[in-house]
Amino acid sequence: MLEILLILLKIVLIVVPLIIAVAYLTFMERKIIGYMQVRIGPNRVGPKGLLQPFADTLKLLLKEVIIPTNANRYLFLIAPILSLAPAIAAWAVIPFGMMEATETSPAKPLALTNIDASLLYILALTSIGVYGVLIAGWASNSKYAFLGAMRSAAQIVSYEIAMGFALVGVLMAAQSINLAEIVNQQSGGIWQWYWLPLLPLFIIYLVSGVAETNRAPFDVAEGESEIVAGFHVEYSGVAFAVFFLAEYANIILISMLTALMFLGGWLSPFESIPVVQDWFTWVPGMAWLLAKTCFIMFCFLWFRATFPRYRYDQIMRLGWKVFIPITIIWILVVGVAIVMKLPPWFDAA
């Protein structure tokens, strides 16, 4: 009984900050893009506009969920849930730091569950998210939504593979598919993190992550100026808010995964630099992890403010003809490096 309560407490400790983070990510998006576009962004609700996300949520909650006459009501309502559930469930295996070893227990990661195949679990769950988009597009029975769903399906097929291959490179380098283990393998300073030896995979993972979350410049499934709002064009009120929540939860998830797998997770960037590393020993690991995640999230917003949108056949071309060959080649390179025990990254393994 106590164990179940403990698990529930952990879930609350993950989900509540996550939802607050989503709310403030939307706020930061509007502020950051606003400043990039010589605007101010929201500043009316609450001090400096800080209550804006709550005002938006309240507005969406009070609105009617309109179900189009020709839509399939059940699928129409299941779709947003299907896209939100995996986005939140994936957080179950994310390690946020390491707990120091005590007399009674060895050092273990700070996570809801520490399963061995956590990388595989994440890959599986993030792929399920697209079903929400697909079903939303089909169930709406609207042409624009249908086009959005088709584009999304095509996009996911091409990017999942590149993303999967990028992860293969990571697990080869770390010799593990446990996220905490992957982070621990990167210890030894900023040059030991996998972004450097796996640089092509790092970039491809980041770009695929942007594509996976349907963010600009890969937001063809939403395609504001082309297919209006794509798959969620018929949604309103809470149902729309849930899609929104899922999209931003996914952004945070992808950013955190990038930080964990390529940027050394909770490890300090000053590790193994004499003198300097001692100045930062007081900083908790989770702060480093959050800082790295925030940096990646900032990049997401930065991309959105800078780039025009790809056409959907061009996205496919990029995925199939550029990313997949590069990942395959780099996996081979990594394989050879591991066999040759190439220093300084692969000599330990």
């Binding site: 990039m36 624009y144 082309e226 800078t306 780039f307 025009p308 949108r309 056949d313 061009q314």
Partner: protein
């Protein structure tokens, strides 16, 4: 087996990229467009018919509302037609002011086009950057006419007022600190000409900024190179004008070919494209902005040196001075007659065309000798461009629809009239 049919998609009139009220019926196979059928008429206001029931001067304001992003250019075409029938000569200062505002209008139009085009293709930051510069030019409109959009500034025989010696300044309010006020008014301490000159100095730098965001951007190139190609022959056959024609490589510009006002005294170049695709038209319009900026500069230099009348002094056509009306009976009568009955044009017909930012904007006027036109026909460049839409889009994809609407620089005010 059921009969297979292509999907028809109703694109607009309520669509974020419909540029107003464009309605397209698209016949698609997957995302590929097989046929596009533009439906027009949703913004029809009967401008041509309305003009038949009003004295000539009262229709100037309607011209602003045709292409509502290049207001003064529309007026220019209309007043030129009246002047042609009247046979009056505009004073040189009036001509320079008109040319200067024509080019300011061209920059205004191209800025909106660039912003909207980039927004359609997905680069939304461009839109706000362009509107930042439009704001300054709108202030020029406001300083000279009192209105930011629908200026009604040109008159047959010249322009309504001379350029103001003082640029209006921002005033103090609870939302602006003294520091903000100082920054906002920094370039507003002199005359309107000083303000515009300051703008022309800053503007080339802004255009460079836009170009760093777009010109060499791979995504932008992928979205525009080879999209909506028009061969020079087809461009001529379909009646394309302006950047749409020049993008295809034909150096046709009424400012050079049939110079009106003082364009023959000014030094500027006509950019032309090579491929006739959206990217070339983008480059042409960007270069046109730079050229317009240099024309504005030349006009400022001339206007600083030369004072003089800005309108013909014949009070049958231009309003008399206010103070003269207080003691001169005849002047009072002139004023009254001009603002009620207007003036009569000699019987006949005239066609006047100007190089509008979008192409050739022509006004065909038939007069039966009354104080109103017998018939007014407006030749809007956008109409011919939209008619070529189907040909440009065939075989492209849905995303290219918005790119081509953008590159055509469609504004529905002039197409539907």
């Amino acid at each position: 087996m059921p009969e297979l049919r292509n999907m028809t998609l109703n694109f607009g009139p309520q669509h974020p990229a419909a540029h107003g009220v464009l309605r397209l019926v698209l016949e698609m196979e997957g995302e590929t467009i097989l046929r596009a059928d533009p439906h027009v008429g949703l913004l029809h206001r009967g401008t041509e018919k309305l003009a038949e029931s009003k004295p000539y001067n009262q229709s100037i304001g309607y011209m602003d509302r045709l292409d509502y992003v290049s207001m003064m250019s529309n007026e220019h075409g209309y007043v030129l037609a009246i002047e042609k029938l009247l046979g009056v000569e505009v004073p040189e200062r009036g001509q320079y002011i008109r040319v200067m505002f024509d080019e300011i209008t061209r920059i205004l139009n191209h800025l909106l086009w660039l912003g909207a085009h980039a927004l359609d293709v997905g680069a939304m930051t461009m839109f706000l950057y362009c509107f930042r510069e439009r704001e300054d030019l709108m202030d020029c409109y406001e300083a000279v006419s009192g209105a930011r959009l629908h200026a009604t500034y040109y008159r047959p025989g010249g322009v309504a007022r001379d350029l103001p010696d003082e640029m209006p300044q921002y005033e103090k309010s609870q939302f602006r600190s003294d520091k903000d006020l100082e920054r906002l008014n920094a370039n507003r301490n002199g005359s309107l000409l000083d303000f515009i000159e300051d703008f022309t100095r800053r503007f080339p730098g802004y255009v460079d900024e836009y170009e760093t965001l777009l010109t060499d951007n791979r995504i932008w190139k992928q979205r525009t190179v080879g999209i909506g190609v028009v061969t020079p022959e087809r461009a001529l056959q379909m009646g394309f004008t302006g950047p749409m024609l020049r993008g295809s490589g034909i150096a046709w510009d009424l400012r050079k070919k049939q110079p009106y006002e003082v364009y023959h005294k000014l030094d500027f170049d006509i950019p032309v494209g090579v491929e006739g695709d959206s990217y070339d038209r983008y480059l042409v319009r960007i270069e046109e902005m730079r050229q317009s900026n240099s024309i504005v500069k030349q006009c400022i230099d001339w206007l600083r040196e030369n004072k003089g009348p800005i309108n013909i002094v014949n009070h049958k056509f231009s309003p008399p001075k206010r103070e003269d009306m207080k003691h001169d009976m005849e002047t009072l009568i002139h004023h009254f007659k001009l603002f009620t009955e207007g003036y009569c044009l000699p019987e006949g017909e005239a066609y006047a065309a100007i190089e509008h930012p979008k192409g050739e904007f022509g006004v065909y006027l038939i007069s039966d000798g009354a104080n109103k036109p017998y018939r007014l026909k407006i030749r809007a460049p956008g109409f011919a461009h939209l008619a070529g839409f189907d040909e440009m889009i065939r075989g492209h994809m849905l995303s290219d629809v918005v790119a081509i609407i953008g590159t055509q620089d469609i504004v529905f005010g002039e197409i539907d009239r």
